[in-house]
């Protein structure tokens, strides 16, 4: 039994992911980290800094620049009982690995009738707002959420990054763990480095309200909380829900909130069409329709390629766009 030392640390989302990786590797020798430049260099965003020195090159593996290989090797390792946490440097470059993720990682349990599972985590920074070039700003979480057998998890604070990553690593099935890179160093929070996991497959209610339910995830949680503040100044009480696990979605919490408020605005930075906002809205339409006092609104990215830095501020849902949607919904009385 490993001695568990718990420490309270004030850290960023990056720091929290680093702490969780280190804790998981310390607790379970099957856990290893792999990806491009994650070792000696410490990772493109320094998420894995110090792990190579601490755990060695056999457990912190610098891979070739080959996403398909990263995906395939991780699937093979996971099937063999290793618990790989593979990093893709940017979500915009994850697609070569899709074949391994969609065709194998997600299906291993089903294909072998439960004899093999695929306990791997695929981490990738995602989302815009850092003035990056093409391929470095997209949010395509809906692609992964559409695939049966994959879990999609998106933290929105240091504490949730720590707890959800611990849970993802311990989970016996594959998890796509998407980190909102705009939040990587945007703020700090007290994180207890005690190895405790947060529950997967549940939403987190970050603010209680009774007039309106606002559902969001990732970097948009901050915009939504700011919008809730602006609405509160006008006497509108908004409940803010961080979905956190995008597949499967905890609709019970969202529906309980909508039954209370009767109104719902969904905010995501991914493109509108076919986004997960549509999935949530459809579930509310099926199971929460009788409580609705107003149409469900979605505030999302546009159905265009994520623009380059000069225009990205117009693409990402902003506080004014969110409050405008909320006011339209409130106007139904």
């Amino acid at each position: 039994m490993l001695q568990t030392v718990s420490a309270m640390v004030e850290t960023t989302l990056i720091g929290a992911v680093n702490l969780a990786l280190a804790r998981a590797m310390e607790e379970d020798e099957r856990v290893l980290v792999m990806g491009e430049d994650v070792g000696v260099n410490g990772g493109v965003f320094r998420v894995t800094e110090g792990l190579h020195q601490r755990f060695g090159a056999e457990r912190v593996i610098d891979t070739p620049l080959a996403k398909l290989a990263i995906g395939g090797v991780a699937v093979g390792m996971a099937a063999a009982g290793v618990r790989p946490v593979a990093e893709i440097q940017f979500m915009g470059f994850i697609y070569p690995a899709l074949d391994q993720i969609v065709s194998h990682a997600s299906r291993l349990r089903n294909r072998t009738r439960g004899r093999l599972t695929c306990p791997m985590v695929l981490r990738a920074p995602f989302g815009g707002g850092i003035h990056a070039p093409e391929h470095h700003s997209e949010s395509t979480e809906a692609l992964f959420a559409h695939v049966p057998g994959l879990r999609v998890v998106i933290p929105s604070s240091p504490a949730r990054a720590y707890g959800l990553l611990m849970a993802a690593i311990r989970d016996p099935d594959p998890v796509v763990f998407l980190e909102p890179k705009r939040l990587y160093r945007a703020f700090k929070q007290e994180v207890t480095d005690d190895g405790k996991a947060l529950d997967l497959d549940r939403c987190f209610v970050l603010r209680q309200g009774h007039d309106l339910t606002m559902v969001t995830w990732g970097a948009m949680v901050q915009e939504t909380l700011d919008a809730a503040d602006a609405l509160a100044a006008d006497g509108v009480s908004a409940e803010v829900i961080d979905v956190a696990t995008l597949k499967p979605i905890d609709m019970a919490t969202i529906l309980a909130s909508v039954e209370k408020t009767g109104r719902c605005v969904i905010i995501h930075e991914a493109a509108l069409s076919g986004g997960l906002g549509a999935e949530i809205a459809a579930s509310i339409a099926s199971d929460g329709l009788l409580s609705l006092l107003a149409p469900i609104e979605r505030v999302a990215g546009y159905d265009t390629v994520m623009p380059l830095p000069r225009l990205e501020v117009h693409y990402l849902p902003s506080v004014p766009r969110v409050t405008a949607a909320a006011r339209r919904v409130m106007a139904f009385g």
């Binding site: 004030e10 990056a132 160093r185 929070q189 970050l206 909130s257 329709l289 006092l293």
Partner: protein, 193 residues
Amino acid sequence: MAPETIFKLPDLGEGLHEAEVVEWHVTLGDEIQEDQPLVAVETDKAVVEVPAPRAGKIAERFGEVGDIVQVGAPLVIFEGAVPDAGTVVGELPVSERRIDDAVSEDIGKAKAIPRAAPAIRALARRQGVDLAQVTPSGPGGAVTRVDIERIAATLVDAAAVEPLRGVRRAMVASMTRAHQEVAPRICDAASSA
């Protein structure tokens, strides 16, 4: 946005890839201002003054007089600037802000919004029916169209009632008394006749 730590030789235009250091205007430890002349470099075309991109203290200087510096190679490093954020592209927003996002485990009881489909709500609004006053008969306690129409019909009957004031009130009072006192006697008289 936090300023860059490392200042690299910028693109000097005209397709030039390198320049020779002619003269340094700053030395290690100098506190300099933005746009202050940093270094003079000579390209194939001309001597160019490179100004400082930001204010700060010079921590390191690269290249001595006579050295060739490539475009994109470091010229100076400023002291006490941002820590290494690692990224090769983009600029991560950095702040010292602290958050404390307490999670609510219990979102409280529903305030019992009457259950009704949107079209039924619209019907209720048109008919002036308050959904909270309707006894629902639909599945899962939902208010139905029939429920709304039943209440609406009651409201139409009730709509004939209005408060009486002044002369009309006095008239109704006396007419009612007359009806109560006179009418029974007429009836009695009629029946005993």
